[in-house]
């Protein structure tokens, strides 16, 4: 009996401690950051959980950008930017709590993130309510920027790059039949698959089959066998690089010779590391090319590998650009005021980032060139840059 009582006591103490913590520490009104020498900016992304690979890259990119800006004297005449990083595990409920916390408790003026579409959808509503701008590095769902005026992004949206690849396949490669293999648990993959299919069919191509897989699958033989039997000219695989590498390997294993294509999810050195020779001759659309010799790109890549001892996947440069864009907007807003910053973001014209030069359309989606890359001799090679 004694022991049980003890536990109840401990439970109560724990609750009390948590309550006190919230009441006195976390709850403390932070003085508005405008009066300080620091401008607070939030970052939301999955640093743990299944999508962590993208969240961490995006965060790394954003951190490099912020550090670079601070090192060069900061913004608004010498104020430093503080990046408050929060892990949402790719979860929507977490995102709600983080948004509330960052905006209400920490008084951030703007947020880089969230990284994936689901949480961004939820964050969009809160951003609109509280009138604090969010800039997503990598959320590609078509609709998210229409949900509120305070959402923008630096990446393509789903129906932006799919058509580019479809036209490229039809017009440049003169291929007529295609198969699609996508991840049906992933909205990004679905979006690209749909937009590709639509354009491809509208412009005279034929979609022979759409097959799906599930995130986390290791074995794609069944789908590939089915696709191979129809013998399509190309196979469009709008998925992430680690899945793509698997699919390429297994496709070549069963002797498929079709051309494989994909979207920006392919853009990682790990595609080549993973697929090896199987990646040769594939095409994908992306934001930039690591082979791009421009100073900005090379400098970013160098800093990234110095700081993190790794090569970024596509989320890295997008995180970098999102942070850079935001800093630029704060500078142009003239003061750390969320609404003014948002206005400044909307007015962004000819912004030059690692992933190219762009302005926003009316829905705050970047209008930028789509890079088409291929793999030759184990290296990414720039094929074309297209402005849709």
């Amino acid at each position: 009996m004694k022991k049980k009582g003890l536990w109840i006591a401990i439970a109560i103490v724990v609750i009390a401690a948590v309550v006190v913590y919230f009441a006195f520490f976390a709850g403390k009104e932070k003085t508005a950051s405008s009066k300080q020498e620091i401008v607070k900016v939030g970052f939301i992304g999955p640093l743990t959980g299944p999508a962590a690979a993208y969240g961490i890259n995006a965060r790394n990119g954003a951190q490099i950008a912020i550090e670079a800006i601070n090192a060069e004297g900061g913004i608004l005449g010498g104020k430093k930017i503080e990046l408050l990083i929060e892990d949402n595990q790719g979860d929507e409920s977490e995102t709600v709590n983080i948004m509330n916390k960052l905006i209400d408790q920490e008084k951030v003026v703007a947020i880089v993130g969230p990284v994936t579409t689901g949480p961004t959808t939820v964050a969009a509503g809160i951003a609109g309510d509280k009138k604090v701008p969010i800039v997503s590095p990598t959320a590609t769902g078509d609709n998210i920027t229409k949900l509120s005026d305070y959402v923008s992004r630096v990446c393509f949206y789903d129906s932006y790059q799919g058509p580019v690849m479809a036209k490229f396949a039809l017009e440049n490669l003169e291929k007529k039949t295609a198969a699609i293999l996508y991840d049906n648990t992933n909205d990004y993959s679905m979006g690209l698959a749909d937009s590709f299919a639509l354009t491809f069919a509208e412009n005279g191509g034929e979609i022979l089959i759409k097959e799906a897989f599930t995130a986390g699958d290791q074995d794609f033989n069944s789908q590939l066998t089915k696709i191979a039997a129809l013998n399509p000219d190309i196979v469009y695989v709008p998925a992430y690089y680690s899945d793509d590498a698997q699919i390429l390997l297994q496709a070549r294993q069963i002797g498929m010779t079709a051309i494989f294509m994909g979207g920006d999810g392919w853009d990682s050195q790990d595609l080549i590391n993973g697929a090896g020779a199987a990646a040769e001759g594939c095409y994908f659309t992306t934001h930039y090319s690591a082979a791009d010799t421009s100073e900005l790109v090379q400098e970013f890549l160098q800093k990234y590998s110095e700081k993190y001892n790794a090569e970024p996947n596509f989320a890295g440069p997008l995180g970098y650009d999102a942070a850079l864009l935001l800093a630029d907007a704060i500078e142009r807003a003239g003061e750390p005021n969320p609404e003014k910053i948002n206005a400044a973001i909307l007015e962004t014209k000819g912004f030059i980032g690692v992933t190219g030069e762009f302005s926003f359309d009316i829905n705050r989606n970047p209008l930028k060139e789509v890079t088409i890359a291929t793999v030759t001799d184990g290296k990414f090679v720039l094929v074309d840059k297209v402005r849709p």
Binding site: T48, G49, P50, A52, A53, I56, N184, E211, A212, F213, T214, G216, D217, Q218, D219, N221, S222, Q223, T225, K226, A229, S242, A245, Q246, L249, Q250, R252, Q253, I254, G255, D270, N273, G274, G276, A278, A310, N313
Partner: protein
């Protein structure tokens, strides 16, 4: 007989069908390998060891580091990838499960979930959540037989699974240790009155099951050369379903369940649509449980009233 690929129209369909069956068997062998360990652990302490899938993941990582960082030969790497998870399995049992031997089974289940989450998150912390390409050991070019393609790793995994199943079955049915395992699984108190050190036997079972999971991890790395910290979650779940399907506690059942899972997934993809694959696999599980509540090869125990 004409090679399958030369048979026209219907013949091609037939060839495709057989190819899908081959695919299913290959995939099923992996599930079977993981399910074997699951079934052993469940059999002895009636615990759904949620951490089993994560041990399988660790096996893959041990193999990866042995092969790449330390450049060890494949055989040695495989041995290490079985040994380290085995030790870890024993450690987990000792620290997290043994103190709860008399606790309600649901508490142990929650602990197992905790262990699973812990391993996953530590792995993400240490290994980074980025997927890594597993070094390619065997040639990727498939063997081709009458138009049906099988890759060498697929054959190896299938054969390994069958051999391990037979070895385990022999161990459990015929050897002294095996009899002790069965005795412990049926009645722990009586087993200890036979002079059986039940803690040692349970420890051994965990070691064996975890070593199997580790081996499966390396095998998966060989066939599907990509590993990452969460790679054990879905296969772990499906392997458990496979074990239940075949009759949990039964070693041939685990093999059978694994193959059925693999074949179902492959044939659903081939005949219906891959998007419904998991739903149909789980429906099959429920139907089988309703018809035969203890699984296909499980012994049905009538409750004495």
């Amino acid at each position: 007989m004409a090679p399958l690929c030369l048979i026209k129209k219907e013949g091609v369909e037939m060839g495709l069908f057989i190819q899908q069956i081959v695919n299913g068997i290959a995939l099923g062998s992996i599930y079977a390998l993981i399910a074997l360990g699951y079934t052993m652990v469940y059999g002895i302490i009636r615990l759904i060891n949620f951490a089993h899938g994560d041990i399988y993941m660790l096996g893959a990582f041990v193999g990866y580091f042995a092969l790449t960082t330390y450049k060890l030969p494949f055989g040695v790497s495989l041995a290490l990838a079985m040994l380290i998870p085995a030790l870890l399995g024993m450690l987990i049992e000792r620290v997290a499960y043994r103190p709860l031997r008399k606790a309600p089974s649901i508490a142990v289940l929650i602990t197992a979930i905790g262990v699973s989450l812990l391993i996953e998150n530590l792995a993400m912390l240490w290994f980074s959540p980025d997927p890594r390409p597993f070094p390619q050991i065997f040639p990727l070019r498939p063997l081709e037989l009458s138009g049906i393609r099988v890759s060498i790793p697929q054959v190896i995994v299938f054969i390994t699974a069958v051999i391990l199943m037979m070895a385990l079955n022999f161990l459990v049915q015929k050897t002294k240790v095996g009899k002790a395992m069965r005795a412990v699984s049926q009645d722990k108190e009586a087993a200890s009155l036979m002079g059986i050190d039940i803690n040692r036997i349970i420890s051994l079972t965990f070691a064996l099951g975890s070593a199997l999971a580790g081996a499966a991890g390396v095998m998966v790395g060989v066939i599907y050369p990509r590993i990452q910290p969460l790679m054990g979650v879905m296969p772990g779940l499906k392997a458990f379903v496979a074990a239940v399907l075949g009759g949990i506690g039964s070693i041939p059942g685990a093999m059978l369940g694994g193959l059925i899972m693999g074949l179902t997934e492959s044939l659903v993809t081939a005949l219906i649509s891959s998007t419904w694959r998991d739903a149909i696999a789980f429906s099959l599980l429920i139907v089988i449980l309703l018809v035969k509540p203890t699984g296909i090869l499980g012994k049905s125990m009538r409750e004495k009233v």
